[in-house]
Amino acid sequence: MDFDNIKKAVVDMEVEKVKDLVTKLLKNKRLPEEILEKGLIAGMKEVGRLFSCKEYFVPEVLMASEAFYAGFDLVSPLIKTKQMKEKGKIIIGVVEGDIHDIGKNIVKVMLEASGYQVVDLGKDVPTEIFVDSVTRENPKILAMSALMTTTMMKMKDVVKSLEHKKLRNKVKVIIGGAPVNEDFAKRIGADGYGEDASAAVSLVEALIGE
């Protein structure tokens, strides 16, 4: 099937092929929403699965996301941005003092692939920047990543600072990264923890659900 070919081309990391297939389907008057959902997003979901079970590693995920974005860039201008806005905005970043951003980038790709609008604050992000952008962007979710025992406490600072600024009940806070877990999330007053990128998507879906 046409959509399956797109899905396969994303999984096979074939940038040009994705572009060709998407262009062809658009010419044939197929709905961009459907191409996105059944082709591109379905492809990235499979990539997420392969990564979770260690068949794919970081390079494969990065290349597959290139293929995904190649198609995404073609269909997204045609889809009423309304739809993405409705699904919700997410702010993501790696906490201050921590430059490990590989995992965060993968989580970001998977969230975008699932139709969320993601604002990426990058790595080594100071607490104030997280809080300021919650004020400015008014996201549904704030997602933070930390890979070090020495930096994970910064997540607590951000949660506290949100409380202090009376912003805490306006946004759901989710966290992830190797040294943190469910229990830590509870302790610092976050709303959820995700073990990997696929879990991040389910978590977001559960929190702000469809």
Partner: protein
């Protein structure tokens, strides 16, 4: 002969090294970390201090992972922690001379083996072009990748030769080659050979060669064994290896200071017949020194049993 060498020869069971490096040791002395990282004399002073207070079985000259990358032109900042700011530019700052100076001083001052930490050519190459770009090119552009790795390897060979002249031992760290990041297949294709070349050079001089890969290493244990290094420093020491293992206590545990957990992990590690009991990576800067002392004590008590 020193303990580390005896354990490598399986003549003794246990040596200990909680991987205390420049940041932690500088912290102990209230020294400014960025000064320590760029001044060989200060670096040696900090590392000697760590050795004196903990009395472990080796010393590792390691300031941060970016010494070579910076010498090759990558911008780096040190505050609040060492951070790579971008790929290679034409502004290089060469700290290798400072590392060599520190190693020289320490060789005179301490009576345990001195190791210098250098980067594996794979990880160094990833810093030169930016990690994401590099990881994509592993699949998209083999030629560019090989060229970058060769640039890194050539630099490391020259640096290594200068170090070996001092008669110091070498630890090669290759974090980006870990199975947390790349597949075993890509490890074999791109990371293995350059490591092997460096290790051969170290062994030719009859010095000790250690390899350190943090993160997941389970899938690459057989390949790591093939390198023929003397020591393999890894996060999870449960898999069987031919090479002497180093590790056992996670950096999280040592940082947390949970006494029961520290003791448990050590006990578990000592199931190994021969081991360099160590932390899984360098101990975080702000680790309370009583946690490290505790690790030294427990290990001492067990090995006297």
């Amino acid at each position: 002969m020193n303990k580390i060498s005896r354990v490598i020869r399986r003549e003794e069971k246990l040596a200990v090294f909680p991987i205390a490096c420049a940041d932690h040791c500088a912290h102990l002395l209230n020294m400014n970390y960025s000064e320590v990282a760029s001044d060989g004399t200060k670096l040696a002073r900090a590392l000697e201090h760590g050795y004196r207070i903990y009395q472990y079985d080796m010393v590792l000259v390691f300031s941060d992972p970016y010494v070579e990358a910076q010498a090759l032109g990558c911008p780096v900042k040190f505050s609040p922690s060492p951070t790579l700011l971008g790929p290679r530019s034409n502004q290089s700052i060469d700290r290798t001379e400072e590392i060599i100076k520190a190693a020289e001083i320490l060789k005179r001052k301490v009576d345990v083996p001195v190791f210098v930490s250098i980067k594996g050519p794979f990880s160094l190459a990833s810093f030169l072009v930016g990690i994401e770009e590099f990881l994509k090119n592993l699949l998209a552009n083999e030629e560019t990748t090989s060229n970058t790795i060769n640039t890194a390897l050539e630099f490391q060979i020259k640096y290594l030769e200068r170090l070996l002249k001092l008669g110091v031992n070498i630890f090669i760290g290759d974090p980006v080659a870990s199975s947390s990041v790349i597949s075993p297949k890509l490890f074999e294709r791109f990371a293995f050979e350059p490591l092997l070349k460096l290790i051969k050079k170290i062994k030719e001089k009859e010095l000790i060669a250690g390899v350190h890969v943090c993160g997941d290493t389970k899938p690459i244990i057989p390949i790591l064994d093939e390198l023929g290094a003397d020591i393999l420093s890894i996060e999870d020491i449960t898999p069987k290896t031919r090479t002497l293992k180093m590790g056992g206590v996670s950096t999280e545990t040592i940082f947390s200071g949970n006494q029961t957990k520290i003791e448990e992990e050590i006990k578990q590690a000592l199931i190994e017949s021969y081991l360099i009991l160590a932390t899984s990576c360098d101990v975080p800067m702000e680790t309370d020194s009583k946690n490290i002392k505790l690790m030294m004590e427990i290990a001492g008590a067990y090995s006297n049993d």
